[in-house]
């Protein structure tokens, strides 16, 4: 894997994680499950990369964490989106939609540019 694709993947992963957290606090495993369901298993996300991403975002102040009890009464770390994280999510998603629109416009073009 080249460096460029890692960068793209990281940035994309961040925004996906933020989106998942926008519905409320959850632990890392729940984030992984959520992503799996939302993408219908299309995006094969290496779950191990989720945690560095979460911690990095915590250090940047996009998410906060707190230890709590999971559904099966185990100690689990819950992540919550911060205001800063919400702002980041908004910014990232609009960038993403502009980007994807542009790409699909090119790919769906039928006439060669003059």
């Amino acid at each position: 894997m080249g460096a460029a694709s890692i960068d793209l993947l990281q940035g994309t992963l961040d925004v996906l994680v933020l989106k998942t957290l926008s519905w409320g606090p959850r632990h890392g495993y729940a984030v992984a499950r959520g992503l799996q369901q939302l993408t219908d298993d299309v995006l094969q996300i290496e779950e191990g990369s989720l945690y560095p991403a979460l911690h990095r975002m915590e250090r940047r102040g996009w998410v906060e964490s707190e230890w709590g009890l999971s559904e099966n009464n185990r100690r689990a770390k819950y992540y919550t989106l911060t205001t800063e994280g919400r702002r980041q999510l908004r910014a990232e998603s609009s960038t993403w939609s502009i980007f994807s629109q542009a790409v699909s416009k090119v790919l769906s073009a039928t006439v060669a540019p003059a």
Binding site: S49, Y51, P52, S70, A76
Partner: protein, 888 residues
């Protein structure tokens, strides 16, 4: 990103973030396995699938660990700042709660730190700041040496200059110059400027480019080439208002027209010169090898050291001494030497400044001891507070840090006060006595001084704060463990206090003795007989321009001026002289004594020759040891006569009376008859013995010496305060020649002061520091004794109640105080004996271990200690015994 403060408490339940990260990962994997198991997978398959989905576990773990590490660092940093902020807030509160203590401590520290800041700012400006030229380390002054007569740094003659300049392997380039007083006339008042006449490459050697215009060219200064000058930025701004049209303008300097061809950049000059004029040295017709008048400055080749330059110069001069045996007899010890330019300028002041630095260092230590003592005394009041904080779970270390923050804050406030004190003190001192220090213009409170002061303040804070803080915390820790009972530590506290006071006395003995030695030495210096009477004599410095005054005009000008001056009301007598004690420059001429054949290899007698008018000796009240003074029978047309001083007579006629003997300066000049011997006057300052001198009548100078002297001091012996005659003396000069500039009008007493300016500066400073040291020590003793007495009020009350006489009690208390003082005195006297040896060169008329000074200061300090302990003792016995008994 500022983390909210409550985060700090996270650590109460998440103690190890690394273990947490591990737990987070295993929770994930185990949840996955459980999920797959629930969907019916086998244990092994579930595990394998979970791991597959997770991906690279070790990598994830490593990266997580890195991030956690960073997070921890962030947190620690925030914690530190939080703690510091908290400590500072606490410190502020504690200091405000105790304004009396704070004020005394801050003042003490301001004195101690301020003295150090002041002296460091002098050292920084004078010794440390590089000279304002590019690569100043490569600039050296080159001197001719005559080691036979112990002269290491002498002026250089033109041929010698060419020799030295020729050492291409040593010097990149060399230039010669000499001081030139330049009178500028034309617009407005005539003005005497400090000038330098230099060979054309002086500015390139220094590495200076004119801001406007050009440098000198090699043709400048030759006959037939237009006269030119380069002026400094200062002169351009102050005298010509920064008018650009000055460049190219023709100015009248010393009665000659000179075109201004260059203006130097701001702040750039050499030895305070205001104007530079070219001095041409013709390599094809050099002046005499024995005519030493030039100063030489050279730039070393890159990589060349001063030491190697010296070696090369010595080798060169050895060859030249062989070649010119006539000029350099072996006994003369001809050689040459190089000295770095900065050393040459400030070498003499280095030791005095280092001594001052030592003294202020001691003063600061004394101040520290005093504040430490205050802190110890206050510690008792704070024991409660420390106990509570320890009980609430603060660590001893944390409290120690808190207390040290407090003392550092105290020191920083003291430093701020000290900076102010230093600024004000240096300004006052330098304005009183600017000529005491070379490069004094460079002295200022700049960033370097600020940083050094700051660092010093921090160190000071720790120095005086550490022991009391440690003592306080340790006491509390112990008493908490032992469950009360502080008796033992009270003894410890008192012991510490006594030690501090003893040290203080010892330190102040050293400073005060140093100060007293300088004070006494200065008194000796001022009391020493200068060999003339300076009272009621005014000295007017004059210099006639060569262009308008030939020898005859010079003679008649000074004759008429002396005549006019004598006629002024309030003037008893007037005369003129080319040099005056105690600031004589020195102008040595070789003489030939009639009837004596010079042994080959021996040095010619070479007295300092001075041109005077007849009344010179009487104006300065210098009497004749034998023979007669100049009289009316001596004039321009009569046979030339001379008067020697006793030093000359001793040097060359050790067993005979020179009166009636004849000397001459050159074989083509007439014999001059010696008619008298005058008593010695201290021409080179009171510290130096009188040099051999020979006096010629100014009007006979053209005949006897083949030349004239245009730069003279006119001396007025007055019946009133000489300075009141300044104006009328000035008018008398203007009447004769309105174009003349008068550089200086000073009384001879001012000149004497000027000659001891550096000694006065040192004496004043050390006296101030000595006084500070003494007062701090007195306060220290007083403090510790009043505290001790207070602790013993009850005991004293009992003694009094049991019929003890007040005298016994006073004796007891004072005895204790004196015990400390005597130990301190003993240690201090020994230390002073070692320390003052460094001062030997600065003393005059007394030895560094002068027993009278040592004795007096010992008695003085003992007296101060006695008073400082007597006052609290006195108060104790005046307390009503019943009150005393009731105190705990």
């Amino acid at each position: 990103m500022a983390e909210p403060k409550w985060r700090r408490y996270l650590r109460f339940y998440t103690s190890d973030p690394r273990a947490d990260a591990e737990e987070e990962l295993s929770f994930h994997i185990e949840s996955r396995i459980a999920e797959f198991r629930a969907s019916g997978m086998s244990e092994d398959d579930a595990k394998a699938e979970a791991m597959r989905r997770f991906g690279d576990l070790p990598r994830a773990r490593d990266r997580l660990r890195e991030i956690v590490e960073l997070q921890e660092q962030d947190r620690r940093r925030t914690d530190m700042w939080d703690a510091l902020r908290q400590d500072l807030r606490y410190a502020g509160r504690a200091l405000r709660r105790n304004p009396g203590f704070t004020l005394v401590a801050v003042l003490t520290l301001a004195l101690g730190i301020g003295a150090n800041t002041a002296i460091f700012s002098v050292i920084n400006g004078v010794l440390l700041r590089p000279l304002p030229y590019p690569e100043p380390g490569r600039l050296v002054r080159v001197f001719t040496s005559f080691r036979g007569s112990g002269t290491e740094r002498y002026a250089v003659s033109q041929p010698e200059f060419m020799d030295y300049k020729g050492l291409k392997q040593v010097f990149e380039n060399a230039a010669a110059f000499s001081g030139a007083s330049v009178t500028m006339t034309g617009d407005g008042e005539p003005e005497r400027l400090r000038g330098i006449a230099a060979t054309h490459d002086l500015l390139p050697v220094l590495g200076i480019q004119p801001l406007y215009g050009r440098n000198f060219e090699s043709r400048d200064g030759r006959d037939g080439v237009e006269f030119v000058a380069i002026v400094t930025h200062d002169l351009w701004q102050n005298r010509f208002g920064g008018d650009r049209s000055l460049l190219g303008r023709v100015l009248q300097m010393n009665g000659r027209s000179r075109r201004v061809v260059g203006i130097l950049p701001p702040g750039v000059t050499m030895y305070g010169a205001q104007v530079f004029i070219p001095h041409y040295i013709n390599p094809d017709s050099l002046a005499g090898r024995a005519f030493n008048y030039l100063s030489v400055i050279a730039r070393l080749r890159p990589g060349m050291t001063v030491d190697r330059a010296r070696t090369e110069l010595e080798a060169l001069t050895r060859r030249k001494a062989e070649e010119f045996k006539q000029t350099y007899p072996t006994s003369m010890g001809y050689s040459a030497t190089a000295v770095s330019m900065l050393d040459e300028m400030v070498g003499d002041i280095r030791l005095p400044l280092m001594i001052l630095l030592g003294a202020v260092g001691l003063v600061l230590l004394i101040a520290c001891a005093n504040v430490a003592n205050l802190l110890l005394a206050r510690g008792e009041a704070r024991q409660q507070e420390v106990a509570v904080r320890l009980a609430l779970g603060a660590s001893g270390r944390r409290i120690l840090r808190q207390l040290l923050t407090e003392s550092t804050v105290l020191a920083l406030i003291g430093a701020a006060g000290g900076m102010l004190l230093a600024w004000w003190g240096m300004k006052a001192l330098l304005s009183v006595n600017p000529e005491a220090i070379p490069r004094f213009q460079e002295i200022r409170l700049d960033l370097t001084v600020g940083i050094v002061t700051l660092v010093l303040a921090m160190l000071t804070g720790i120095l005086f704060g550490f022991t009391p803080a440690l003592h306080l915390v340790r006491t509390e820790l112990q008493s908490t463990l032992k469950g009360g009972g502080r008796g033992g530590t009270e003894g410890h506290r008192q012991r510490l206090g006594r030690m501090l006071v003893t040290a203080e006395v010892a330190l102040s003995v050293v400073v005060v003795i140093g100060a007293a030695l300088l004070l006494r030495s200065f008194q000796e210096l001022r009391g020493a007989d200068p060999g003339f009477r300076p009272e009621n004599v005014l000295a007017v410095d004059l210099s006639l321009p060569q262009a308008r005054y030939d020898a005859a005009a010079t003679t008649s000008f000074y004759q008429r001026l002396v005549e006019q001056m004598r006629a002024l009301p309030g003037v008893r007598m007037a005369s003129a002289a080319s040099d005056v004690p105690p600031v004589a420059g020195g102008n040595n001429w070789d003489i030939v004594i009639d009837g004596r054949v010079r042994e080959p290899g021996s040095t010619a007698p070479s007295p300092n020759v001075r041109a005077v008018t007849p009344d010179y000796f009487r104006t300065l009240s210098i009497t004749m040891a034998s023979g007669r003074g100049f009289g009316t029978e001596d004039h321009a047309a009569s046979a030339p006569v001379a008067i020697l001083n006793e030093a000359s007579a001793r040097a060359w006629w050790p067993n005979a009376n020179p009166v009636g003997q004849r000397v001459r300066f050159d074989s083509n000049l007439p014999w001059v008859t010696i008619v008298g011997v005058a008593r010695d006057a201290k021409s080179n300052g009171v510290r130096e013995p009188a040099p051999p001198e020979l006096f010629l009548l100014h009007e006979q100078l053209p005949a006897a010496g083949g030349g004239t002297e245009r730069t003279m001091y006119v001396l007025l012996k007055t019946t009133v305060d000489p300075l009141t005659l300044t104006l009328s003396a000035r008018q008398a000069v203007r009447q004769l020649d309105p174009q003349l500039a008068i550089t200086n009008i000073r009384s001879m007493e001012q000149l004497l002061d000027y000659s001891v300016a550096q000694q006065r500066f040192m004496m004043l400073l050390l006296t101030v520091f000595g006084a500070v040291a003494l007062s701090l020590a007195a306060i220290g003793i007083y403090g510790i004794m009043s505290y001790a007495v207070k602790r013993r009020t009850r005991e004293i009350g009992i003694r009094m109640a049991l019929g003890g006489s007040p005298r016994d009690v006073v004796r007891l208390v004072v005895g204790q105080g004196m015990q400390l003082a005597v130990i301190g005195l003993g240690v201090g006297l020994l230390a002073a004996m070692a320390a003052t040896t460094f001062m030997a060169d600065m003393l005059f008329g007394i030895t560094p271990r002068d027993p009278v000074t040592f004795g007096t200061i010992a008695v003085l300090l003992a007296g101060v200690a006695m008073i400082a302990s007597w006052i609290p003792a006195r108060r104790a016995v005046q307390t009503d015994p019943t009150t005393a008994l009731r105190t705990e």
